[in-house]
């Protein structure tokens, strides 16, 4: 056993130069080692040298390597494309379609879902978890109505409510009537299990639209959350949802607001900021690759996420994002829609400084990568010294 204080003292200088993880691990190992101060010093030096050797060299084509490292496993995924794996009853897009969704920065994923963890009070009891879940699930009139009819003679809608379902969801008729009243279409009456909404208009078009509006009227829950599912995970209950609305769910009491997760990256960017979105992109993309059993180094995914969030908003990898915003005309033209870019550049009299890789490949010069990234300037000695 080496003296912890001695190890601490020797390692002091390396604290800034070594990553925290390596530093901590090294420290722990050194303390458990039975070594002299001299030996300790040598070990640390050796570790530091190895660390420096493992760093990426300036000029290394990290982007190309990342593209290859994600792209090649992607070709293996294509065969298993459009497979859905359910969280019991839900379908969640996985595999290549989901990966494309992420790098294309689609505003809404094809299957938005949320994972909502509960606070201390609610997470250990199924009853209480269900109580929270019912506050989140969006319930419309359509969900609790048996039928909806339009009475031509009295020009009114007759909505028959399924009282059993309504009771199950914790909604009574008075409440439904109150919400309908807020629509401001006319008087609302309750008759047994029927609700009658009088409306003034007689135009068929308007009535049709009104019918849709009534059916889609939100009685309770969070906008956009279509279904919820309470599942047990370990000793706590977790809510899974179909549909996503981060800002809305954060308002609900009984959840743990600091652990809410959604697979809608744009919502995360809006509510939690671009850094959280970066973390979410990494998490989502890596998860897809991992689920498919593909062992891709997370650093490649991190690079992609960094590039996508560089400008403070989420950009897609492609024509409308990263590639389309390159400063070089030739590089843009080489990617997609060649003619459009060349024509526009000609019309605007654009210049190309030939600073990137693609442009230089096109004109046949050495590319600014690896050793080519170094630019040499001659130093002319002044007269007399």
């Amino acid at each position: 056993m080496a003296d912890p204080q001695l190890v601490e003292k020797i390692m002091e200088n390396y604290k800034k130069n070594l990553p925290k993880k390596i530093f901590d691990e090294l420290k722990e190992k050194l303390i458990s080692l039975n070594a002299s101060e001299d030996q300790l010093n040598k070990i640390i030096e050796e570790v530091y040298r190895e660390y420096l050797n493992s760093l990426i060299e300036p000029g290394e084509a990290v982007g190309t390597v990342a593209a290859q490292s994600v792209g090649e496993p992607g070709t293996q995924m294509t065969l298993r494309t459009f497979h859905y794996a359910g969280v019991r009853e839900f379908n969640v897009t996985l595999g290549l379609p989901r990966l494309i969704e992420i790098v294309d920065a689609r505003r809404t994923p094809s299957t938005p879902t949320m994972i909502i963890r509960l606070d201390e009070e609610h997470k250990y009891s199924l009853e209480k978890a269900k109580e929270v879940a019912s506050k989140i699930e969006r319930i419309t009139i359509e969900n609790i109505a048996k039928s909806i009819e339009y009475d031509m003679i009295n020009s009114s809608f007759i909505i028959e409510i399924d009282e059993e379902i309504a009771h199950d969801k914790g909604i009574d008729l008075e409440y439904v009537a109150k919400v309908l009243g807020r629509l401001k279409v006319g008087n609302v009456e309750i008759e047994g299990n029927k609700i009658i909404v009088h409306c003034e208009t007689t135009s068929i078009d308007k009535i049709k639209r009104l019918r849709e509006k009534i059916l889609d009227l939100r009685l309770k829950g969070v906008k956009g959350i279509k279904r919820v599912l309470v599942q047990k995970e370990g000793d706590e209950y977790v809510i899974y949802t179909d549909g996503s609305n981060l800002a809305g769910v954060l308002q609900i009491k009984g959840i743990d607001p600091y652990k809410v997760y959604t697979n809608n990256i744009f919502e995360i960017a809006e509510v939690l900021g671009i850094e959280a979105a970066r973390a979410a992109i990494i998490r989502e993309a890596y998860q897809v690759l991992d689920q498919q059993g593909l062992d891709v180094d997370i650093r490649h995914v991190m690079l992609i996420a960094d590039l996508m969030t560089m400008t403070g908003r989420i950009r897609q990898i492609g024509r409308h994002g990263v590639s389309g915003e390159k400063s070089s005309v030739l590089a843009r033209a080489a990617f997609e829609v060649t003619v459009k870019h060349l024509l526009e550049a000609a019309a605007h009299g654009e210049e190309d400084a030939l600073e990137g890789v693609t442009e230089n490949v096109i004109v046949g010069q050495s590319i600014p990568l690896g050793t080519g990234i170094i630019e040499l300037l001659m130093h002319f000695p002044r007269r007399g010294g």
Binding site: I22, V271, L272, G273, I274, E275, A276, R283, G312
Partner: protein, 79 residues
């Protein structure tokens, strides 16, 4: 519910606004202009929580699965 603090969320890393001197030091260390750093918008929830103004540089202390802890910087842009 008490006010929602985004920094407590598991996806949001810790962040601080750098002082003028620190920005200068950072600039000299990397030999770059501060606009060459990645950007963050003034309207970003993180910027609003920190009260950062355009022209500021934010230091972000991310939790990284590879390095344990990784430091990144973002330059606040005015849109």
């Amino acid at each position: 519910m008490s006010k929602f603090d985004i920094f407590k969320h598991e996806l949001v890393p810790k962040a601080v606004v750098l002082s003028k001197e620190e920005v200068e030091e950072l600039r000299r260390l990397y030999g770059i202009r501060k606009e060459q750093l990645p950007w963050i918008r003034r309207s970003d929830p993180m910027c609003r929580a920190l009260g950062a103004k355009p022209g500021d540089v934010i230091k972000i202390i991310r939790k990284s699965p590879v390095a344990g802890e990784a430091i990144a910087y973002r330059y606040v842009v005015p849109w």
